[in-house]
């Protein structure tokens, strides 16, 4: 029977220090097996995971606060909802960009780019509706879709497909060259109402050439290893 000399409490025989004050227990005649341990021996471990669902709900809920405040101010000043809708649009884009990937996981991360592209397209539509611009269908939407497609291709090549470096390099250059051509065509159609290339063939030629060559060289182990030797940094 052991007592803590500091606290005065009687201690279970298996206690080597007082649980209350940490004073060591010294009982030469004591038998630790006199009392059965109060708790089992197995230590349960729990993974310290972030509750994504809870955080997602919390941040989504909190995100409404700035919009509500700006909407009230907007209505008080202008008796209508004008610029406050831009706040909502911006918050929506941020929500899609940041919270959707945080909450959900897809097999291919490039899938998120599709949601991001859609969100940006909707934001641009909102801007054109509020300010009564007329360039959505001729300029805005095509630019957003092309940019989204390009970024999707980049993410797909780099993250989802994970090709060899030379192939990835070549594919990116190839995709960039095509993207620039298409951008040029969209802009020229908007300005001149006809499809014609103005500036894009300057970067297109070198990008396309280098990209195509890199993609072809990557198929040859001999050339790609030679390039690696010559160009490593």
């Amino acid at each position: 029977m052991s007592y803590c000399v500091h606290c005065g409490v009687r201690l279970a025989s298996y206690e080597t220090v007082c649980p209350l004050c940490g004073t060591p227990v010294n009982d030469p005649n004591g038998n630790p097996e006199n009392d059965l341990p109060r708790f089992g021996e197995y230590l349960e471990t729990t993974d310290r995971k972030v509750n994504r669902h809870f955080l997602f709900s919390l941040i989504t809920g909190l995100a409404f606060i700035p919009f509500i405040i700006t909407a009230i101010v907007d209505y008080c000043l202008n008796h209508s909802f004008s610029w406050s809708l831009l706040v909502l649009g911006g918050e929506f884009v941020l929500w899609v960009f940041i919270l959707i990937p945080f909450r959900y996981s897809f097999t291919r991360p490039s899938t998120f780019i599709l949601f991001d592209t859609l969100a940006v397209a909707l934001l641009v539509l909102l801007i054109t509706v509020i300010f009564r611009f007329k360039w959505y269908l001729s300029l805005g939407l095509p630019l957003v879709l092309l940019s989204g497609l390009f970024i999707y291709a980049v993410v797909f090549i780099i993250i989802d497909d994970k090709p060899r470096k030379l192939m990835a390099f070549g594919s990116l250059f190839f995709a960039l060259s095509i993207y620039l051509i298409l951008i040029d065509l969209v802009i020229s159609h908007h300005i001149h109402s006809s499809f014609r290339l103005t500036w894009s063939y300057w970067p297109f030629v070198p990008l396309f050439t280098v990209g195509l060559m890199a993609m072809l060289f990557s198929r040859s182990m001999k050339i790609s290893s030679w390039l690696k030797k010559k160009l490593f940094i």
Binding site: C7, R38, E44, T46, G61
Partner: protein, 423 residues
Amino acid sequence: MPKWFKLDNAAKIYPPVLNGQWAAMFRLSADLTEDIDPAILKQAQERVLVRMPSFATTLKSGLFWFYLDHIDGQPPISEDTSNPMQMLNFRKNNRFMYRLLYHRNRIAVEFFHSLTDGTGGMTFLMTLINEYLHIRYGTAICPDRFILNCSDEPIEEEYEDAFLRYGQKKTVGIAEKTSYQYWHTRTDFNKLLAVCGSVDTAKLKELAKSYDAPVGTFCAALLLYSALQLQKMDRRSSVKRKMVKISVPINLRRFFPSRTVRNFSAFVNPGLYGSLGDYSLKEVVDFTRNYFGIHITEKQQLAKFSYNVAAERHALIRITPLILKIPILFIAYFTAGDLLYCSTISNMGLVTLPPEVGRYVTRLDFMLGKAICGRSMLGCVSYNGRTVFNFSRNIRQSELERIFFSTLVELGAEVFIESNGRD
């Protein structure tokens, strides 16, 4: 028998604050005279879940509120651990919101607080034990205050939301000042340090009587006194002026008759300003007794919980989507909940069992789960001539427990201490 339940008024606060690192939980355990047979325990659990359908549920979210959905099967029965009340993994637990454990001769049940309160949890445990003894030894089923007959059909009153039943229009506000929080360092994430101190119930009664207070009041006053001593020892001058408060759950069934096994309890938070001077134990006991006399009355408690019921029934709150309610309830829990006290004492009181059951049950324990903020929490229950105080903490410091038990020793009570170690 319904296939789903709305959460009762008190339970609604717990799911929004539920996260990967914390859940509002408590634990009840009983020591029997022989080692537990898990196969028989499983059979007993199956019958009890039919009799008490509100425990055979899982938490789900609707558009406006969380709710409990009925599920079949039963949670797995596993060996008890050295660190009780870890985060309840609903997936591993077959989506049930309580966990059934055993170790040698002890049966323990750990509940998520949205499911039930201490009284409901004790009813579940005692019904389970009676059923277990009936299957193993042929013991008679003895329906009692805490024991239900599993052959009977569930009664609607047993899973009603008693808050809604008794809630009225006259309310009082629940705003309070925050409490002093004592300095601490956290333990490792997976650790809950527990210290069990058992005292002779007769001696405790004698001590309480000498201070002219009921046993429950005396224990609460002792905890408040211990917290005041902690504040006195605290070197931070910024916290000296704060009120030292503790939280004491009240079983509302003593004022508002109900057979519900779901939550039906409220809280009172007695507190004192330590900066006004040194309080003796007698002064603290007198204050606590008077505080309880004023605040723990039928009218006071009815007005207080009616405030929460009125909030739940408010049209604007009802139509607010759950996705917006969650952050609001999360913030409300901290501002109007967790920071209002520095420790909790939950007293189950004196538990008596029918002799047919009581002769197999040697000890009962009641323990509270870890708090969001770092602190020690106290659960106590008296049974079979012993009162067991279970302190549970997620901090390294055990000063509150030391002062509590040392004071009892100074008053002449012998305290027997068991623990799962120090950090």
